[in-house]
């Protein structure tokens, strides 16, 4: 996966700088900065009303930013119009189609609006989302899941290099959600950059390598998901031959925090260096180590921690460049 640099190239799939959208007194998006690199499966996470969809609408040129700008492959949709969407496809909120037309007619219409040889891809994209047999049926009779799949098909007609998907699995049954995840994964493997807005944390955890977490219109974290999990919630579980004495030793040990007893073991937080010195200290005390297991925080833990800290008024920080330690808004 390409690394995001601190001074992003203007040809990155998505670059947002100081993006603001205000609706009278409501600040929907508050100085959002984003860097989506080529090849990313980029999770755009946040609770309902956090400003995800508004940000995506601005990215697609559907609504005008109050301030700031967003560029797709170096082009601003506000000034470049439809040219800015070359190589870009996707949908915001639920994909919408003409209910009185069949799926095939809808795709023919959209292919006509795409130009080029998009019409020649209709059969292929219908097959990809397994709607060939229902292609002649009017969309009016489609289930939610079928419309979501048709939305993906409509996006694939454009042979996108960047796919913007807003809650693609919302409303799908578990099987549909799994299939949607597999499809997105496959498209990403084929080299398509994916910007995936979601509040389904398992989906993001499974699919995404980089994430931005937004809350109340502000980015509270941007960076690699692995970094977030490692640094945001690095902890260890320790089982010894004498947990009572091990607890005393750990409490005396410098650099080891948040020591607690849990399920017949000790939980603690420390960096790798201090975990090493702690294990030596335990050995010196004659305490045998039965197991020392690293435990990464789940995305769900981190998400709630970040958004709750944001809600508590700790505010947002600028996105963390890849080459610097991950910064958590409000985290010390």
């Amino acid at each position: 996966m390409p690394e995001a640099s601190s001074s992003p190239s203007p040809t990155l799939p998505v670059v947002a700088r100081g993006l603001v959208k205000r609706y009278r007194e409501v600040l929907a998006v508050d100085h959002v900065d984003l860097n989506v690199c080529a090849g990313d499966v980029y999770g755009f996470l946040g609770p309902n009303g956090a400003g995800k969809t508004t940000t995506l609408r601005m990215a697609l040129g559907l609504i005008t930013p109050t301030a700031g700008k967003v560029e797709l492959f170096g082009r601003d949709p506000m000034t470049a119009g439809a040219r800015a969407l070359e190589g870009v496809a996707g949908f915001v909120e639920a994909p919408r189609f003409y209910p009185y037309l069949s799926a095939r007619k809808n795709l023919q219409l959209l292919a006509a609006l795409d130009g080029g040889d998009a019409a020649a891809r209709i059969e292929r994209v219908l097959a990809t989302v397994e709607l060939t047999e229902r292609a002649e049926h009017r969309v009016r009779g489609y289930s939610h899941g079928m419309r979501q799949r048709l939305g993906i098909a409509a996006a694939l007609l454009r042979e996108p290099r960047l796919l913007i998907l807003d809650e693609p699995a919302t409303g799908l049954d578990p099987g549909g959600m799994r299939d949607m995840r597999l499809l997105i994964r496959r498209l990403a493997d084929e080299g398509i950059t994916v910007l995936l807005s979601s509040h389904q944390l398992p989906e993001v955890q499974e699919l995404c390598d980089r994430v931005a977490i937004v809350d109340r219109g502000r980015v509270v974290y941007e960076g690699a998901l692995a970094d977030l999990r490692r640094q945001g919630g690095a902890g260890y579980r320790l089982r010894t031959t004498d947990d009572t004495r091990a607890l005393e030793v750990a409490r005396r040990h410098e650099g080891v925090d948040n020591i607690h007893q849990i399920d017949g073991a000790l939980g603690l937080q420390a960096d790798e260096q201090h975990v090493g010195t702690l294990s030596l200290a335990l050995g010196a005390e004659g305490i045998g180590i039965l197991a020392l297991t690293p435990e990464l925080a789940t995305l769900e833990d981190l998400f709630f921690r970040l958004t709750e800290e944001s809600a508590a008024g700790n505010g947002a920080q600028p996105p963390a460049p890849e080459d610097t330690p991950v910064r958590l808004a409000g985290a010390s």
């Binding site: 040129g61 040219r83 919408r96 006509a112 609006l113 097959a127």
Partner: protein, 291 residues
């Protein structure tokens, strides 16, 4: 949708595809109109009224000779009087209503359904979409007028024959020339009618609401019609849009009186051009947050 099933690879490729042109977008706007049942409602109404009119006249067997209107007095003499009378009757309310029905709906309905965002995230500019929608709404209005005229002509001729007809100036014209004049009159009537389409488009883009745009458009024409009836406002009457509905009368005189036609053209332009331009600007800049 099983990701494990074999499917052809969809390799991303840089897009250098030729972008669609406005006529392509226009053709699809027409196809959408054709595919919607409600599009046929206006056409049906515009066609039904002449048929009802002819049937009632045949049943009543009323002698219209001596009627105030010269074409009304010729109903049973020439089938060509029927489309002229129908244009006279329908031009003040029904045809503007039919035009407003589609013009007021064509942007607002897509906004409400969320399909506007679907088409605006493809490879067409907003200006192209607006132009295509305007052309489609105008095409629909023109089809409604000519379809109504055609049905009225066929019904009238079937009932009373394809005979010569006397025009407003008292000149008798042959049936073929009369037929030509009937359709020319309908074509001239399109000048104010397309102006109503422009008003409907503006309201459709501004209100995001089909019903509001329809009621607004019809309401404006009614207000103008009422203003035209207020005593003491005679001096502004020639500049009211509703006063241009009878611009085609000049065609049914010998020699042709082009004055009202030219006058209506520039008066209608005073309404149509600002509305069309304002609608275009609104559409270009508006936030598409519906759906």
């Amino acid at each position: 949708m099983s990701a494990t099933s074999p499917a052809p690879a969809l390799l991303p490729a840089p897009h250098t595809a030729r972008r669609p042109r406005t006529p392509t977008v226009y053709r699809w706007e027409l196809r959408k109109l054709v595919a919607q049942k409600r599009s046929y409602l206006g056409l049906f109404l515009g066609s039904l009224i002449p048929v009802i009119f002819v049937v009632v006249q045949l049943l009543v067997q009323h002698d219209h000779r001596g009627a105030d209107n010269i074409f009304a007095s010729q109903i049973t003499q020439s089938g060509l009087a029927t489309p002229v009378l129908m244009l006279l009757f329908q031009s003040f309310f029904l045809l503007p209503l039919i035009a407003a029905l589609v013009a007021g709906d064509i942007v607002a309905a897509e906004d409400g359904n969320g399909t506007l965002k679907t088409i605006l995230t493809r490879s067409v500019d907003r200006g192209q979409v607006y132009a295509a929608k305007a052309l489609a709404a105008m095409t629909y209005a023109a089809v409604a007028v000519f379809l109504s005229a055609a049905v009225a002509t066929v019904a009238g001729v079937a009932a009373w024959g394809f005979n010569s007809i006397t025009t407003y100036s008292g000149t008798v014209v042959s049936a073929p020339k009369g037929l030509l004049l009937v359709f020319a009159a309908n074509a001239v009537y399109l000048i104010p009618l397309l102006t109503i389409v422009c008003i409907g488009l503006l309201l459709s883009a501004v209100t995001h609401n089909s019903a509001a745009a329809l009621v607004g458009t019809v309401g404006i024409t009614l207000v103008l019609a009422i203003v035209g009836q207020i005593p003491g406002l005679d001096s502004i009457r020639p500049y009211l849009l509703t006063d241009q509905y009878s611009n085609w009368h000049g065609l049914l005189r010998t020699p042709t009186d082009w004055g009202p036609i030219g006058h209506s053209a520039w008066v209608c332009a005073l309404y149509a051009v600002p509305c069309m331009f304002a609608g275009y600007l609104v559409f270009l800049r508006r936030d598409v947050a519906g759906g």
